[in-house]
Symmetry: C2
Subunit: 86 residues, 2 copies
């Protein structure tokens, strides 16, 4: 399973677009706060595998390419733990 | 732009997985309530174009294939208008 504290420690790159509190800095990016951890992990694996293209997918593929399975679990647990902000 | 009421009227198929209040019924699906409308629209267009594959993308491609640009705008406005639930 994912470790929330470890996920937070690994989230600096994510925060540039998705916000320090998981509230995206631009509406073309998704908010991550309170999203389901299972879905977040599936999405990161999909980007890493190249299953998503177009739009910002290239950026996400580049970032996710360096993430281990544990990194993905930790990041997903961290963002799922945050309170969603509208 | 999107019309919230029209989006709600068109959301029955979405609710089966993403929940009547935009809170997904299974953690492998994303919550949609309070997500950014621009991101939701980009995602639906990406599924419709076939830019996402793997996992549940086939299901989303099938659903989104019948959506017009206006449908996508309306659905995105509707889900963005809902209060996010953790």
């Amino acid at each position: 399973g994912g470790n929330i504290a470890d996920g937070q420690a690994k989230s600096a790159s994510c925060a540039a677009c998705h916000g320090a509190a998981g509230k995206a800095v631009n509406s073309i990016y998704p908010n991550l706060a309170g999203q389901n951890a299972d879905y977040l992990a599936l999405s990161l694996h999909a980007y890493k595998k190249g299953d998503r293209s177009g739009g910002q997918a290239g950026v996400m593929q580049a970032f996710s390419s360096s993430l281990s399975d544990q990194d993905i679990s930790d990041l997903s647990a961290y963002y799922a733990s945050l309170t969603p902000l509208k």
